[in-house]
């Protein structure tokens, strides 16, 4: 039997303006078993997240409308459709985001970090 893929049956929302980043992340997350949705700005991404309730959101630093700080604030302070993992692609940590990966990056490095954070969230939900 084939090994279970790390994002099997998970929804991932990728928020990036750069087509190359969106394509690369879509390919790598799809290969890991996820269903990937893409948005090009923070406001649209928030609308989409309200509908989809994705467990993972990857937010890129090239977004100008509805930037990273605003987006994280909406999700995690205003508690609008929060995700389990909110990850940033950029060069510095963003308050309320679970982690960040500096550019340029290898997609596999990003996916690995997110997968482990997701596993931690799952473990915390399990009773001892």
């Amino acid at each position: 039997m084939a090994d279970k893929k790390p994002f099997e049956s998970q929804d991932v929302l990728v928020v990036a303006k750069d087509d190359a980043i969106r394509r690369a992340l879509t390919r790598v997350f799809t290969n890991c078993g996820a269903t990937v949705y893409c948005e090009r700005d923070g406001h649209e991404a928030l609308k989409q997240q309200r509908k989809l309730r994705c467990r993972v959101i990857v937010f890129c630093n090239d977004i100008q409308r509805g930037g990273a700080q605003w987006f994280a604030h909406q999700l995690r302070v205003k508690n609008i459709a929060d995700s389990d993992v909110l990850w940033y692609i950029g060069d510095k940590p963003i308050t309320y985001m679970d982690g960040y990966t500096s550019r340029p990056f290898k997609p596999v490095v990003l996916v690995k970090a997110i997968a482990y954070n997701l596993a931690v969230v799952d473990d915390l939900k399990k009773a001892e």
């Binding site: 309320y96 679970d98 982690g99 960040y100 482990y116 931690v120 473990d123 915390l124 009773a127």
Partner: protein, 691 residues
């Protein structure tokens, strides 16, 4: 102690596989008048001889790489009655020096360098025998010898710990105060050294032939009145009244307190104390604008400051507060308006008694605080001292024993003893509270409630007790009772971490959202609650209750505000470590991977080292050992004992009946192969005939 008789006619055993000691040690022993000397070089011979006739002294190498080590010999010694127990001396290579403290704590008499000559050994033996015959006290001679070793290896911190342990046991013996002073001076803590010499002088140290020389060497002058001042490094004063603060300041300055922190706001004070857990003294007003003293003192203790003396400076303490003051270990009350002289005496007495407890009430208070802080080793040491004091009544002795049994996890036995204590008239606040906790652990909820209610009637303002009762009502599905107790606790101190924790635990699935909101409104992301849980989990790790620790770390992590933070990294590392200790290595690895992926993790080095070990174990099946100092829970600042004494020291052996055994406990970590010393004693395989 003080009655050791060395018998030169009794047999001396030399267990030496390489037979190197025959020509050196053997000759030295003969020159000292020992005639019955047996040499053995095989374990079986040793085990055979051991049972044949009593041994007065056994010499051996540590043999830490072998199946049968020096540790096993010490265990065999401890299993004998005191009257027939031999002295045990070992030869150590330089590389084995780290084992010496641990072996000392197991009752080793003396340690010697393994590179030696006849003259060298004869000199050492002569000294030991002369000291033994002069003082008739193996503890004293062993301590003296150990001091020489610690000074030679420049381990001054361990020297201070040893001396402090000995002073707790023998508060009137000046030798140990001098030993402490030497430790302080060598560690560069001159003020504390001078004070220790002053204390030694107060106990008649002038009669020791080396006292004057030590004073002269380390101080370069005679003792003077200024050495009577006990150095206090840090003090926190919580008082909203600036006039009072201004009155206290010169008093503390006169005492030489180096850092004095004044707080008008108790929350800021508690935040400071959480970050400065080594604060040496706390002075607080009993009634503040937004909080009463009963809450402050409970919050200080809940924050984990169990060893810090607390003095109340207030005119508002009433007679009915006394029970609570005693329950939470308040050292003294200084009445306002402050009389400088009385205040100075009270402060000095509190700090001195904290460092060198000699009065019965102080030792008892310290014991109860150690029990509250779940510090088993320290509590056991104090319990042993208490058992020997004439002021300690039989009921109290039984109560102390119950506390120790419960703390060491013997719940059933603790229950039986506690019932016995209760029936013998020890129906006190402490026995009732303890019986409540024991019954809760045994799931006798109704009985637990009964005892806690009795304790509550005696001391109604304990938030901890009310929260405990709320949890019991909740376990019995009596939500009204639970809510009533929680409301009562909230009325006393709504911001207490214990109330916040109880509130969260009362939340159930299917509960009315408004009730859930009212229960959890103050708890989300509460720093104090997360810090409390972290401390609680660390305590559970120390008691080896790993599932409890894991569950507590998880609670803390789940309550953290979302996003990256140092707290999250520390908690994740601690949780990974707790998982590793329960051999759930795959889960531990997941947490460590998240830390390694973080770009600025404060625990990156530790996480990587632990991760490497786990991966090596999973992929290459290398043994997974977690006992070096590196893998220590973060924030575990008080050097909790890393060495597992369980099963090595017979429970019924009393303090000091074998050199330093049960007086001094080694608190550090040992090299990874120390486990070898702790394995069970090999069984005699065949009966060889010994010539």
């Amino acid at each position: 102690m003080g009655n050791y008789q060395l018998d030169r006619k009794k047999r001396v055993l030399i267990y030496d596989q390489s037979e190197r000691l025959k020509n050196t040690l053997g000759e030295a022993l003969v020159s000292q008048g020992f005639s019955n000397i047996k040499y053995v070089h095989r374990v079986n011979d040793l085990l055979e001889l051991w049972n044949l006739e009593p041994t007065s002294w056994i010499f051996s190498y540590l043999d830490d790489e072998d199946e049968f080590t020096g540790g096993h010999i010490l265990r065999m010694c401890l299993e004998l009655e005191y009257s027939s127990r031999p002295l045990a001396s070992f030869f150590f290579d330089e590389s084995q020096n780290s084992y010496v403290p641990f072996m000392m704590s197991l009752g080793m008499f003396s340690s010697h360098e393994s590179v030696h000559s006849v003259n060298h050994i004869t000199e050492g033996l002569e000294f030991l025998i002369q000291q033994l015959e002069t003082h008739c006290d193996d503890t004293l001679v062993s301590a003296f010898w150990y001091k020489r070793h610690l000074i030679a290896v420049e381990n001054y911190d361990e020297l201070i710990v040893t001396a402090e342990s000995l002073i707790a046991q023998f508060p009137n013996n000046p030798t140990y105060y001098v030993m402490l002073a030497e430790g302080y001076f060598l560690a560069g803590r001159k003020d504390e050294g001078s004070f220790a010499l002053h204390k030694a002088s107060g106990h008649g140290a002038e009669s020791l032939d080396y006292f004057a020389e030590i004073v002269n060497t380390h101080m370069g002058r005679e003792l003077s009145a200024q050495d009577r001042k006990l150095p206090i490094n840090s003090c926190v004063v919580i008082d909203s009244d600036l006039a009072s603060q201004n009155q206290i300041r010169p008093l503390l300055e006169a005492l030489g307190v180096q850092t004095i922190q004044f707080f008008q706001n108790q929350d800021e004070a508690l935040q400071y104390l959480l970050k400065n857990i080594d604060t040496q003294l706390i002075l607080t007003e009993w009634k503040q604008p937004h909080i009463v003293g009963s809450c402050i003192i409970q919050r200080i203790r809940a924050a984990g400051l169990h060893a810090t003396p607390v003095l109340i400076v207030s005119a508002l303490v009433k007679g009915e507060d006394d029970v609570l003051l005693e329950e939470f270990g308040v050292s003294d009350v200084i009445a306002k308006p402050i009389d400088d002289r009385t205040a100075l005496v009270a402060i000095l007495n509190a700090v001195i008694q904290e460092r060198f407890p000699s009065e019965f009430t102080t030792i008892l208070r310290k014991f109860r605080l150690m029990v509250r802080g779940q510090k088993l080793r320290e509590a056991e040491q104090l319990a042993d001292v208490l058992q020997q004091l004439p002021e300690c009544t039989d009921e109290l002795k039984l109560g102390v024993l119950v506390e120790i049994k419960y703390l060491s996890g013997h719940t059933e036995e603790a229950y039986q003893l506690a019932k016995q204590a209760e029936s013998q008239g020890g129906n006190t606040l402490y026995v009732c509270h303890l019986l409540g906790k024991i019954c809760l652990d045994l799931h006798n909820y109704k009985e637990a409630l009964g005892y806690l209610a009795k304790a509550k009637a005696r001391s109604p303002l304990s938030v901890e007790r009310l929260c405990l009762m709320a949890k019991i009502f909740d376990s019995m599905n009596q939500s009204d009772g639970a809510q009533t107790c929680l409301r009562a606790a909230k009325a006393i101190d709504g911001n207490s971490v214990l109330v916040k924790e109880a509130s969260i635990e009362l939340v159930k699935e299917g509960m009315n959202p408004e009730t859930v909101e009212s229960l959890t409104e103050d708890t989300r992301g509460s720093e104090s609650l997360i810090s409390y849980w972290n401390n609680k989990a660390i305590q559970a790790v120390r008691r080896k209750k790993y599932p409890e620790a894991i569950a507590t770390y998880k609670k803390a992590l789940s309550a953290l505000p979302k996003g990256m933070s140092e707290s999250r990294s520390y908690l994740r590392y601690n949780l990974a470590l707790a998982y590793s200790r329960t051999k759930k290595l795959k889960r531990a690895r997941v947490y460590l991977e998240t830390l390694i992926c973080e770009q600025e993790s404060p625990v990156l080095d530790k996480a990587m080292a632990l991760h490497k070990k786990i991966v090596a174990h999973i992929t290459e099946k290398t043994p997974f050992v977690l006992n070096d100092t590196f893998h220590k829970t973060n924030d575990e600042s008080d050097n909790s004992s890393q060495v597992d004494y369980d099963g090595i020291v017979p429970a019924d052996s009393s303090q000091g009946n074998s050199c330093l055994n049960r007086i001094y406990f080694y608190h550090g970590a040992l090299p990874s192969n120390y486990n070898n010393l702790l394995s069970s004693i090999p069984v005699l395989k065949k009966t060889d005939v010994v010539a």
